[in-house]
Amino acid sequence: MEVTEAVAIDHGLKKEEFSKICELLKRTPNLTELAIFSAMWNEHCSYKSSRKHLKKMHTKGKQVIQGPGENAGVIDIGDDDAIVFKIESHNHPSFIEPYQGAATGVGGIMRDVFTMGARPIANLNSIHFGSPQHKKTRNLLRGVVKGIGGYGNCIGVPTIAGQTTFDESYNGNILVNAMTLGLVNKNKIFYSKAAGLDKPVIYVGSKTGRDGIHGASMASATFDDKIEEKKPTVQVGDPFTEKLLLEACLELMADNSIIAIQDMGAAGLTSSSVEMASKGNLGIELNLSEVPCREEKMSPYEIMLSESQERMLIVLEKGKEEHAKKIFDKWNLDFAIIGKTTNSKKIELIFDNKKVAEIPIDLLAENAPIYDRPWKKTKLPQKLKFDKDEFKSLKLSDCLKKILSNSNISEKKWIWDQYDHTVMGDTIQKPGGDAGVVRVHGTNKAVAASVDSSALYCFSHPLTGGKQIVCESYRNLISVGAKPIAITNCLNFGNPEKEKNMGEFVECVEGITEASKYLDFPVVSGNVSFYNETKDKGIKPTPTIGGVGLISDYQQMLTMDFKTDGNLVYVIGKTDGHLDQSIFARELLNEKKGPPPTVNLFNEKNIGETVLDLSRKNLIVSCHDVSLGGILTAVSKMCIKGKKGIKINSLKGLTNKYEYFFGEDQARYIVEIPKASLKKVNDILNKYSVHFDELGTVNGQSIVYKDDINLPIEELADAHKYWLKKYMDS
């Protein structure tokens, strides 16, 4: 096939990009070469629209061992232990084929983590679906959950936390973001940078098939009516092979045989080989006839673009081939020496004894296009003036029940029951809490992790929204007694070629950067997913933050369930009653305008450190951050989890109870304090000059507030626990 501009455009390249390729190569590429360019230059692999802005991110910190740019980020948690983690999107394939899309998303992110030598110890996910009324939502949700479970359960890594939301903006583009944490000795981390000449390049894992060809390009385009035709671009996963690959790789990593290792993810063999060579400033020669193929007569083009799962590329020390082969034989995996490192600084492909492609590496990596796309700032919306007389017709208890059973607030047990969350025997906080917590096996330490996003806030004002999610992540970790250390982010946005979408991206990144800098909560890994758009309709901006924190003594972990009658309950942090963009405004007033709550980073940090101090001194026995739905929603969850009631005090100087109870002001926590600790707690709160309200006392089996609320916990639990199950069964 002759390569023309039209062929290039079919491969997702722009006209100008094709001319640039011809100019750089000083000739027209052949089809295989064109395919390699298209795979490396698409948005998904090249970050061409985002790179300029990602550079500004705050990525350094005392505990950061590896920031963005590797397979995953790495942080130091003391005693030679390090945590490797990353979040990644698998949005486009999951919409086309929910089970396989989600499953291979989980598989891909786990490979990123064990590629670095770490054993995965926890999975999390953040999944977002269209309106519950939309005809596709139920099946997509069912498929995605089954896919995530099907893969993670089989590997035997617990899924410890997650987030699920519904919003009509995801009707045509669901989001599936998967995160994995792994544990590694910090002196035994493996990287993707090749080094040394004439070193053998090894292919291990599954055979290469025709699945997933053009997957990365598909993920770099918007959807139209013909989306069903894209099914063949979705990869098919085999968790059993991945489990074997995991064990085999970790076994080989126990000694010094590996120079560099890279999993074959998006754009398969192309991107893994180019990245390893590029990082090592080397060339690489691959003999594609040696690649183990699942199907007959696969062409170089297909071999280079296949996104078959469960494959790894390794640059090995010379002379270690037999030793490595023995390990992969033991685990019944393919092992093939397919090439070597060279000093040509080119990627050279041989097939049937003929050279079929030759491209200088720097054209693919460093010379990939970078765009400074035009973008538009989003103005802060005007604060709404609510007609408070209108509130009076609303009964507090009815409002509460309605909010607790809201699709985005209600408990997601139907989902997490399908995930094995206890395998590996170290899960000490299961899904449903503020963060999932796993012990660092065999030590007193535990690692907490949480995933968060706030698309409504980000849509209303991206800059504030970006800051808010980082803070929310910070609070969720502190609420379980963990010191926040670092984050990974998955930036899900619409079409970057549209100024509004690009602006949302730029400003969310700015917000994330500002907050992570202030809170000393650096970004160590992440990915960007653009083009979440169908027939011109894009998603709300949905950056997802995966936060990781450390509990140095796991016995100090906190949970949110109320513990003992008679204990006092405080709200730490000030409540102004911000109702704009709240669940209350949406659900009960049908009001969707207004700005998100203001983020005050000083307060976030100061109040966060206060609560952490209280937990380190064992002065509080339960803790929960106040987020969506405000104080009354948060306190109800604490009651439901603990099967205990609360008597809420008559609050002095309260201007409006609806604003107080349902406002979504930031930087607030609810804590439960044993009477004996009260004086010490008050002293610490005063020392940090932190505002707090004495909300009430843990008491009985109902939530009681003056004559306004008297609700048995069981009734609240019914409202809260069964929305999703009923929805899925209906």
Binding site: K146, G149, G150, N153, C154, I155, G156, D238, P239, F240, T241, K243, L244, W331, N332, W416, D417, Q418, Y419, D420, H421, T422, V423, M424, G425, D426, T427, I428, K430, R439, Y554, Q555, M557
Partner: protein, 227 residues
């Protein structure tokens, strides 16, 4: 007491079982599926997971693996063989235990705490156990036990039903049955009661920071009965 945990490709509760056994004082060793023989043991454990990817049927390929003949010989000579979750599935596939484990009635994987009633204490696993109802943990997609009427009758007549799903107070009914298993069966013995297969994972319930501690009682009891 010496124990051996068999590792099949795809096993994923092997380490958890090793940790649990050692915690309570078993001298445990791990045995690879391709080995010909098993070191001298007083207890052999087939752990949970997805042996051989659970291809064909859960446990079926493992039941034809190289090591399995030694397991069967050991069981037939009266040795204690414990199969948890996938291990239970393997034991039914080998024929050491009757019946089969089908997909859960509600067609979903289920991971949660359950209560089980100990139905028989005339055996080396549950003899003198202080409790009648244990809180354990399940995590499976194919735990829906089923067998023929004749087999069920024989299980009942010989007191081979080991544990059944129940409520906190011991009530057994449809509500307390998480997967649709016939007669709420969560675990059974062979005729001699030296082979026990059960879906719940005691190894995930061995300290108070995990889902619970009743798993500890189970392991300690096996040791106490051995002494």
């Amino acid at each position: 007491m010496r124990s051996s945990v068999i590792i099949f490709p795809g096993s994923n509760c092997d380490r958890d079982m090793d940790v649990a056994l050692k915690k309570f004082g078993f001298k445990n060793q791990m045995v690879w599926h391709n080995d010909q023989s098993i070191p001298k043991s007083d207890l052999i454990v087939l752990p949970g997971g997805f042996s051989y990817g659970d291809y064909l049927r859960c446990g079926s390929i493992a039941s034809k693996s190289k090591i399995i003949k030694s397991v069967i010989d050991f069981a037939n000579s009266g040795g204690l063989v414990l199969g948890i979750c996938n291990g239970f599935q393997i034991l039914t596939e080998t024929g050491l235990l009757n019946g089969i484990l089908q997909q859960n009635k509600f067609l979903n994987f289920v991971c949660c705490n359950v209560f089980v009633k100990v139905k028989d204490k005339q055996n080396k696993y549950f003899k003198d156990l202080k409790k009648d109802v244990l809180e354990l943990h399940i995590a499976h997609n194919e735990g829906n036990y089923f067998c023929s009427d004749d087999e069920l009758k024989s299980l009942e007549d010989n007191n081979q039903i080991a544990v059944t799903y129940c409520g906190k107070d011991g009530t057994e009914n449809e509500k307390t049955n998480p997967n649709g298993a016939i007669k709420n069966i969560a675990g059974i013995f062979n005729k001699n009661k030296n082979v026990l297969g059960m879906m719940p994972h005691p190894e995930r319930m061995i300290d108070k920071y995990l889902s619970g501690e009743d798993g500890s009682l189970f392991f300690k009891n096996i040791l106490d009965n051995f002494k």
